[in-house]
Subunit: 216 residues, 2 copies
């Protein structure tokens, strides 16, 4: 059954395994609400943030926010996908325009850069991890997004490191490790607020990867 | 001013930089309440858990929990320190009794093992990261505990890898990286529930570290 609101497309789950998108992100008002919500959620957490506050950020009445998102839960689900896709989109863009000799190092660097420029994303991730335990739909979406990121890392970094498709287990392990390092360091930075510290650790990781490349 | 309750020692901050300990953990009832609280918090989160529920886990009235902990906030602060110290204590014990040839690999392995056997700790960590943004005292404690763990990693692993005290920056970077990998992989496992996956990524990291040792 079609919905009467043209901007809301429910259950539009794509078949290619990417995360579902329930709302039309091309609608400027929808994307403005999602961006404002991401900021509020990252700042105060899900439970302490109200739809009215999110509207206030944009000078909108709560009822307008409600028109696009039936509940705070619906907005939380959507904000996660929206922010993550924006993040991965930025990384893909950087990869497409990249002409450097060390494409792998530069792919890893784009991921790192995108995290550095996206403190809201880190705060939001932590909020999602915490809430996912009480919200199966949020957890399902978080897993789907995580596996999108995993695929990106695998295609652009791991295969480039000369790990062939035959050696699936090593490639999988390395993709998992790379994502864990990025997540772990974003938490370090969030907790300690020390950008130089996590940057040095990131560079240490890159040098370990490079030694591995030269050795094999 | 001394408090009238013999089991409560307020503001007992040690001078050697370790995390403060406000409550007598040797008291069996205190440690039972802290263990039960850790379980409840990791399962349902801070905001959804009540002192009454924590008491119920132990067959205690809410007023008894209140006798030892003035508020849920006080209990949350203490649970974090308690769980973390139990975790680091287990690691130190394993290190003390270790007689293997590869003491560094085995130190790293004890840290990893302790995380594997402490799902409550991972759930609690995520809850702390999320709540720390709204609770400066929780954040201060989380930073102090993080720096305890950092010190442990530095003493037992990084120095053993042959990085001398002179090369402080490299040693710091490696300690930060190791903690980030452990945190990041515990999140992966928490989100995906796939122990084999994070184990393979952990082993990949150990092999990168070993190649670095052999190369230098």
């Amino acid at each position: 059954m079609e919905t009467a609101q043209p901007t809301v497309i429910e259950n539009n789950r794509s078949d290619n395994g990417t995360a579902p998108r329930a709302v039309d992100w091309e609608n400027p008002r929808v994307s403005a609400i999602l961006s404002a919500a991401a900021k509020c959620f990252a700042r105060k957490g899900f439970s302490a943030t109200t739809l009215a506050e999110i509207g206030k950020e944009l000078g909108l009445r709560k009822s307008i926010v409600h028109y696009y998102f039936a509940s705070k839960a619906a907005l939380i689900h959507e904000v996660q996908s929206f922010t993550y896709h924006k993040y991965l989109g930025r990384v893909k863009e950087a990869l497409a325009s990249d002409t450097s000799a060390d494409r792998i190092g530069s792919a890893l660097h784009s991921l790192w850069d995108a995290i550095q420029n996206n403190k809201t994303g880190t705060g939001l991730n932590i909020e999602v991890w915490s809430a996912a335990r009480r919200d199966p739909e949020l957890k399902r979406r978080a897993s789907a997004l995580h596996s999108d990121a995993h695929k990106l890392v695998h295609e652009h970094i791991v295969q480039g490191l000369g790990i062939t498709n035959g050696d699936t287990q090593r490639g999988e392990a390395l993709s998992t490790l790379i994502l864990a390092v990025l997540n772990g360091l974003s938490v370090t930075e969030y907790l300690e607020g020390d950008e130089a510290k996590s940057k040095h650790a990131y560079e240490m990781f890159v040098s370990l990867l490079n030694q591995n490349r030269n050795a094999s």
